[in-house]
């Protein structure tokens, strides 16, 4: 019986990892004033790349996912920053294209098979000493991406609040003309934010395959990219808030384990809908109590 809470926490951490990775990336982009809806598709394409390269090794799968994520984000950045197109429209288009591409490639590449092949998953990494602790210790044996998530959260927090570059990036999301007046190029900060965001999105997609399912299914991201966008708002555009927010969604996703464990008579469809319902409720409850970057979603005005 005492194993049940730990099992739930473990499931929470597992489910929170891909959402958190994508959300930390999205946070960076949004602080620079860019709303990237395309991360949903980017995540799915990265998952597919991970299953292809994962045939070699799980780490190769991770790297392929990161690459696919950066590529998708770069296409988005090209249209949004360089060609100054509407962010929401480009984001939707990129998302649908990446999603479609992963489906098409999956059917072409694995036409003869009934499903994508199984790949080896990453082994859990034990934290020295601490993982030997009774009870809690078993939580400290997670696959690599989980550690990357919390390290990324801390790094992003340090960068945003403790460096001049982070200050400039935040200023880009608030008032790009002030950044330009300081002799810096706001577009540069947006590009950098999107590339890093793409890498983290890619890692999130690869995690689904290489650290969790061990295979690829069509539309594998299943709305996690959109949830990540909601988590950014939920976390009030701060790294710590985003980490807490993704754990909250992880908990909602692991609701099914609780239901099973305690034998509560709730249809499983309802428990599956929980994360999405929580998104709506929490966002509605927090309405007005936080503030998005002033220029979020807006194209930078041309100088002069």
């Amino acid at each position: 019986m005492s194993d049940v809470p730990l099992g739930v926490i473990d499931a929470t951490i597992r489910a929170a990892t891909p959402i958190g990775l994508a959300a930390i990336g999205e946070l960076l982009a949004e602080r620079a004033g860019i709303l990237n809806i395309g991360i949903e598709g980017g995540m799915c394409l990265a998952a597919f790349a991970a299953v292809v390269a994962g045939a070699g090794s799980p780490v190769a799968g991770l790297m392929a996912g990161v690459l696919a994520g950066i590529l998708t984000a770069s296409v988005f950045a090209l249209f949004v920053i360089r060609l100054r197109a509407q962010q929401v429209i480009v984001g939707t288009a990129v998302s649908m294209m990446a999603l479609g591409l992963s489906t098409v490639l999956n059917r072409v590449l694995y036409a003869g098979l009934s499903a994508a092949p199984q790949v080896h998953t990453l082994p859990p990494m034990r934290v020295p000493v601490l993982s030997a602790l009774p009870g809690v210790g078993q939580l400290l044996a997670q696959p690599l991406p989980t550690y990357v998530l919390y390290a990324a959260g801390a790094s992003v927090a340090w960068f945003l609040y403790r460096t001049i570059g982070g200050l400039s990036l935040r200023a880009t999301g608030e008032d790009p003309s002030a950044v330009r007046a300081a002799g810096k190029d706001p577009a540069l900060f947006q590009w950098a934010a999107l590339v890093v965001s793409g890498a983290l999105t890619g890692l999130a997609g690869a995690t689904l395959v290489v650290a969790q399912a061990g295979t690829f299914t069509e539309n594998m991201s299943a709305g996690r990219g959109y949830i990540a966008i909601a988590v950014v708002a939920l976390g009030r555009w701060t790294p710590a808030g985003v980490l807490v927010g993704s754990l909250l969604f992880g908990a909602a996703s692991s609701l099914q384990y609780i239901v099973q464990a305690y034998g509560v008579a709730i249809p499983y469809n309802l428990t599956l809908a929980a994360p999405y319902a929580v998104t709506l409720f929490v966002l509605a409850a927090l309405r007005g109590s936080h503030r998005a970057p002033a220029r979020l979603g807006r194209t930078i005005d041309l100088p002069g």
């Binding site: 609040y161 403790r162 935040r170 608030e174 008032d175 330009r180 007046a181 002033a294």
Partner: protein
């Protein structure tokens, strides 16, 4: 020192010289080398600091963060706890007071101007370019700024300053360049010319203003005229601090009352009481339903740059929920305003942002005076305007007054207050008192109420 009327091209010239904008033809030489490369980049590489007339501060960030933003580097450490002392240190070099922890969007125009100046100075520039730095500064701060600029220049720095104040240019400048309609009308040593010579170069004709007596046609309003604006025993408290204390004021029909006071002395809240934007925590305020209001931040509070002139003209009624806009009638009124206020606009569909600062102010003035409102409130309405622009503002306010409006206005220029007001009141730390319309009396009242 760069002088010229509104729209003469001063700001354009400055921005091109700084590398912020690119010239259609010609080259910019800085320190013997031509400026090239990306927009904005030259500022960084050449050690040029620019303070624009339109503030380039991030409104949602603190003063210290805004000052740190101008520093170079990417991974270079930024620490909120160290940024504040650094900001204060930079401010102390000039003597300009700033509050490093304050958020910019809560600051007055004068405070924001001080932050902009400190931000520019903190980058240790070789060349500093200031676009009308003293337009909103209090006189003591303006003096501190020029004292610092003189030290900066004698230490080998170069300074370019745009100003509308002749005396400033002649007192502190080494050389004066006068622009008129995009051409250089005159370059001269600052000590040589007379005031009239410079003004002549600016406007291209012998100016007749100043010679004429103030057009105070109606004279002080009769004591029997009805009171239009009144505040009785009003106290305004913001976050526990009283910005106005037990203030009483009456403005009668056909009367023009001027308010003097340093930034933060309470005049901003006093004026806004009558527009309904500030609610008294104690006391009674009486004002007509419709009040013409000319705010100090005209770009931020009075117009939408992306919208057309006619749309901006119509914005006065933006609070109305009922009614259909009669565009033909609006166009006629807008055209009428363009003609009577001498606004150089091609047509009513032009975006308001295409007008120069002075002409935007004329548009706001025209709109707020349209329909003869019973009361007019104006905050520093001649801020940043040249002699001719200021004169139009003065004339129109007086005209509104003659037609029976009660006019209450604030100006950072005491001479202007004396010249055009029927009565002058001075604000000091939230208290108000009537003063004799002389410079020494006003100056004394601004510094201490007793």
């Amino acid at each position: 020192m760069l002088l010229g009327e509104n729209g003469a091209g001063k700001t354009t010239l400055l921005r091109i010289a700084a590398g912020l904008d690119r010239a259609d033809s010609g080259r910019v030489i800085v320190g013997g080398a031509a400026l090239s490369g990306l927009r904005g980049r030259p500022i960084r590489t050449q050690g040029i600091a620019v303070v624009s007339q339109h503030f380039s501060l991030v409104p949602t960030m603190t003063v210290a963060e805004n000052i740190a933003l101008a520093r170079r580097g990417t991974i270079r450490r930024f620490s909120p706890s160290r940024a504040a002392p650094e900001a204060i240190e930079a401010a102390q070099r000039t003597g300009l007071a700033i509050d490093p922890d304050a958020r910019v969007n809560g600051l007055s125009a004068a405070s924001q101007q001080r932050v902009e100046l400190v931000k520019a100075i903190a980058t240790d520039p070789r060349i500093i370019m200031l676009d009308e730095p003293t337009a909103v500064l209090d006189p003591p701060d303006a003096e501190k700024l020029f004292a610092w600029l003189r030290r900066f220049v004698s230490g080998g720095g170069t300074a370019v300053v745009i100003t509308h104040r002749l005396r400033e240019a002649m007192t502190y400048g080494d050389s004066i360049t006068v622009l008129r309609r995009g051409r250089i009308a005159r370059i001269t040593d600052a000590s040589v010319p007379s005031e009239t010579e410079v003004v002549t170069a600016m406007v291209g004709e012998v100016p007749v203003f100043r010679v004429s007596t103030p057009s105070r046609s109606a004279g002080p309003a009769a004591a029997s005229a009805p009171v239009v604006l009144s505040a009785a025993g009003v106290t305004v408290t913001r976050a526990g601090i009283a910005t106005l204390r037990d203030v009483t004021l009456e403005v009668r029909r056909g009367e023009m009352v001027g308010v003097a006071g340093f930034e933060g002395a309470g005049q901003a809240d006093l004026l806004r009481l009558f527009t309904g934007m500030v609610t008294p925590s104690r006391g009674v305020v009486v004002a007509p339903e419709h009040v013409g209001f000319i705010p100090e931040h005209r770009h931020r509070d009075a117009m939408i740059g992306e919208m057309s002139l006619r749309e901006n003209f119509r914005l006065r009624d933006a609070g109305d929920l009922r009614g259909v806009i009669d565009w033909r009638e609006t166009d006629a009124r807008t055209r009428n305003a363009i003609v009577t206020f001498d606004i150089p606009a091609s047509d009513v569909h032009a975006a308001a942002a295409t007008l120069s600062g002075g002409n935007q102010q004329r548009l706001v003035l025209a709109r707020e005076l349209d329909g003869d409102p019973p009361a007019i409130i104006a905050e520093n309405p001649t801020r940043g305007l040249d002699v001719r622009g200021a004169r139009i503002v003065h004339d129109r306010l007086r005209e509104g007054c003659t037609r029976g409006a009660a006019v209450l206005w604030y100006s950072s220029n005491a001479e202007e207050l004396i010249e055009f007001s029927d009565r002058v009141v001075a604000c000091h730390r939230g208290t108000l008192r009537e003063v004799a319309p002389t410079l020494p009396a006003i100056a004394a009242a601004m510094v201490a109420a007793e």
